[in-house]
């Protein structure tokens, strides 16, 4: 008996010791070597859930490595969302490498025992890159180097070293207000956007993702949770959504050790990572500037005793992002057949795969809208969580349905906002909406209503309808178009801040037999746009803020019966004229067209 007890004790001790040994030691700062080996050990210990990957090499030839966490780590699964955590753009910010390493360890060691985490992680590919700047990191750890080095170790061939990687991204690169042209400065932006292999590798890595939905880029310090834009103090498109996520994350961080992160840094930074990824992909991109709150230069080297509490308080914000990207609880349908899979629509080259601007969850009573009348606007929100979600916020907006549509957008008008408790199942949230009179400012009888549901357990991470379950949109016509008019007009505005190539394509599948609809190509621009020339674009280009009217001609057969209704679906897309992956944005229009009862009708003057 004694022997058996002793043996059991020994086995338990070995088991316990191994568990302890398997844990990563965060009581001391890692060195570049121990961080790499701990990351690699995680992948070795959890082979069914993780795999090491390399996105490229640094300017001095070091591998930029990460760990992919997914239920099928060996497969790049296009059906899953991609969430990215990256650390250490700036070499001296060592806590910014410890946090993503801790996140990887947490996810891998808790997956098996946490069904909630499992549910969300199963829908995602989580990519964690603790160190984007391995050369700088090595230099800060080298006794012959400099602990407070910030940049990479590019030899600028002018007697200086280093480019600030977080001033080297391609959006708004080169502004003197937020970066330096001087090679010796710590905020030196490089000779050109993406001049550095580290930023190029990261850009290309994100561009290769199927569904880049969210990103956190860890920095220190000042205790801030920053969101785009960094290059200006003006708000970005979708500011309310970004603000909601940031403020909620701040609350989650504060709940752990009481550290209250701020939202503003009070100065601008151009060529910064989150600005690039928000502008390019509308992927929720945030910068936690972690501990300490103050400290001058020494703030970059807080005592090692800060590592664990810093990790502890930042973990819930990271997990919330994973939850929001991977676990659908509250949602609004984008089209009748939407099952909640994202993205709900993709640009196929010949149109959007689904008309995502016809949510059946958004409707009005009465159905027929008359300008100036007050109608009931119903928004159905589905709650799949199985429990009541208290304190959800539902916002409804209307806007001109011009092509670059997102919710919220800078010109959208808030119809109303309600804070509601959403029991499991479907809930209809009702708003009162005074339908705008006449036409929208482009002469159309079209309006689009967008609805967003937000909850601390379920936040939208983008403003694009087709990329988020939390957003639905529906275009409404206030007047049926008459087939006898033979002409419909679609207004397209470029809301982006770069020129775009524009296309309008007709979905002819829903047309009655014999009907023809043509959207003639608009005449080319009077002055060719050089970016369009470089990309070989021959079609019409819209400059930022420019609006054009696209005519849509109807050809109705003589035999069409009076009163016959037809649906004309116009798919619109704007493709930005930018280097790299050109991510299309868009919207569509559905015209209900009726053959007049009198043929020919007298034209009203």
């Amino acid at each position: 008996m004694k022997t058996r007890t002793l043996l059991t004790g020994i086995i338990l001790w070995i088991w316990a010791t191994q568990n302890v040994l398997a844990q990563i030691d965060f009581t001391q700062y890692h060195t570049p070597a121990t961080l790499a080996s701990d990351l690699s050990n995680l992948a070795t210990t959890h082979p069914s859930l993780s795999q090491m990957f390399t996105i490229g090499t640094s300017v001095e030839g070091r591998a930029i490595q990460g760990i992919k966490i997914s239920t099928n780590p060996g497969v790049d699964d296009s059906a899953k969302g991609d969430v990215v955590f990256v650390g250490l753009h700036h070499a001296r910010e060592w806590l910014a490498a410890e946090m993503p390493l801790r996140l990887a360890e947490y996810l891998l060691t808790n997956y098996a025992t946490d069904p909630g985490l499992q549910g969300c992680m199963n829908n995602l590919q989580i990519w964690i890159i603790p160190v984007l700047n391995p050369d700088g990191y090595a230099y800060t750890a080298d006794p012959n180097g400099y602990r407070y080095w910030r940049k990479n170790r590019r030899n600028n061939v002018d007697g200086t070293f280093g480019v600030d990687l977080n001033r080297n991204y391609g959006y708004q690169w080169g502004l003197d207000s937020g970066s330096s042209p001087n090679t010796s400065d710590d905020t030196y932006r490089g000779t050109a956007p993406f001049s550095e292999p580290e930023t190029t590798a990261f850009r290309d890595f994100i561009a290769a993702r199927h569904n880049p939905w969210a990103m956190l880029t860890y920095h220190t310090f000042s205790e801030l949770f920053l969101r785009p834009w960094a290059y200006t103090t003006s708000d970005p498109p979708g500011e309310p959504t970004l603000a909601y996520v940031a403020q909620d994350s701040i609350g989650k961080i504060a709940a752990v050790h009481g550290e209250t992160y701020g939202e503003n840094i009070w100065y601008t930074s151009s060529g910064e990572a989150t600005d690039y990824f928000w502008s390019q992909y509308r992927m929720g991109a945030f910068t936690p500037e972690m501990r300490p709150a103050t400290g001058g230069l020494a703030g970059f080297s807080p005592p090692a005793s800060q590592i664990i509490p810093n990790n502890e308080e930042n973990l819930p914000a990271a997990l919330a992002l994973i939850h929001d990207a991977g676990c659908r609880a509250l949602w609004i349908k984008d089209y009748a057949g939407d099952s909640g899979v994202e993205p709900s629509a993709v640009w196929t080259g010949a149109g959007w795969s689904h008309a995502f601007w016809v949510s059946p969850d958004i409707s009005t009573i009465p159905v027929t809208l008359v300008g100036g009348s007050t109608v009931t606007l119903n928004v159905v929100v589905h709650n799949d969580a199985g429990v009541t979600k208290n304190g959800a916020v539902v916002r409804a907006y209307y806007t001109d349905p011009r092509i670059s549509l997102e919710f919220p957008n800078p010109v959208a008008v808030l119809i109303g906002q309600q804070t509601v408790n959403l029991p499991a199942g479907d809930t209809t949230v009702t708003f009162s909406w005074t339908v705008p009179t006449g036409t929208n400012i482009w002469g159309e009888h079209h309006w689009c209503v967008g609805a967003i549901v937000l909850h601390p357990d379920d936040r939208p991470l983008t403003t694009q309808i087709q990329l988020s379950n939390n957003i639905g949109g529906r275009n409404f016509e206030t007047v049926d178009a008459l087939a006898g008019d033979r002409l419909l007009m679609v207004a397209i505005t470029n809301h982006l801040d770069v020129p775009v190539e524009y296309e309008a394509l007709i979905n002819r599948e829903k047309l009655p037999r014999g009907w023809e609809v043509v959207a003639p190509h608009l005449p080319p621009n009077p002055r060719p746009n050089r970016k369009a020339l470089l990309l070989g674009v021959r079609s019409r280009v819209l400059e930022p803020g420019e609006t054009v009217l696209q005519p849509v001609h109807l050809h109705v057969p003589e035999t069409a019966q009076p009163g016959t209704k037809a649906t004309i679906e116009v798919n619109g897309v704007l493709k930005p004229l930018v280097p790299g992956k050109r991510v299309p944005v868009g919207n569509g229009f559905v015209f209900e067209v009726r053959v007049p009862k009198c043929k020919p009708c007298k034209t009203r003057q």
Binding site: Y146, R147, Y148, R150, V157, D158, G159, T160, F161, G170, W173, G174, D176, S177, G178, S180, P181, N182, T183, S184, D185, D186, T187, T191, A192, P193, F194, F221, S222, T233, I265, W266, Y267, T268, S269, A293, T294, G295, G296, L297, A298, G299, F300, V498, P528, R530, K531, L533, L534, L535, G536, L577, V578, P579, G580
Partner: protein
Amino acid sequence: MNSKTSARNPSLRSWLLVLVCLSTLLSLEATSPGQSSQNYQQPTDQGRSFYRIDVEDSIEAGLIEQELKVKPVLIRSRAFYYYGNEEANQLLRRYGYEPVRVKREDVLTRLVMVIRKKGTEEDLAKAGTTVVLREREYWVVRATLKQLQLLERLGFVVEELGRREPRPRQVRIVVPRLEQVAEVGGLRVDIYDTAKSEKGYVILGGAFDDSIDELKAAGFEVEILADPPGVVR
């Protein structure tokens, strides 16, 4: 050791060759103040010509690199500088650009040490250079290649920085208004943190002397703090 001996011993000769190479390399990498070695490296242009075109913004610059494979050496404001040839220039002309040949000596800059043996800062300014750091025995100066040639003609001793990478000074700046924090950042201060105080906003950051000079000229009071461990001036 005489030359005869070395010539007869191939292994010794190899060693000598290695030593000569090493010492040449070391003299390039780690020159120190007081050494009168010649100086600073001219970046090689590998016999290529240097051109400028005007672009609208950095996005257009990115498209030129991506679509036409013309790599920028430097983008500054609307100027896109590159090493080119007639083939590249023809290609660019087809897209409406007007390549202009420029002297790289007028455009590209270097950061060098100018030993404080002769001349004054005023002379350096007159030559059009920028003093980035004032160290005890030397100035760290940013200058175009043409300006460096001028300095040498004026008798300044110009040397490579080598391993003496310039380190910014630690600064503390108090500004009364919040929007001035961004102004300070715009004058190339690497801002570490900003805290609200009774007198306004206290900015702690790093800056070189050229930036500090501009801050002072703009009316900001700049307090220089102690350097961190490991910084030798």
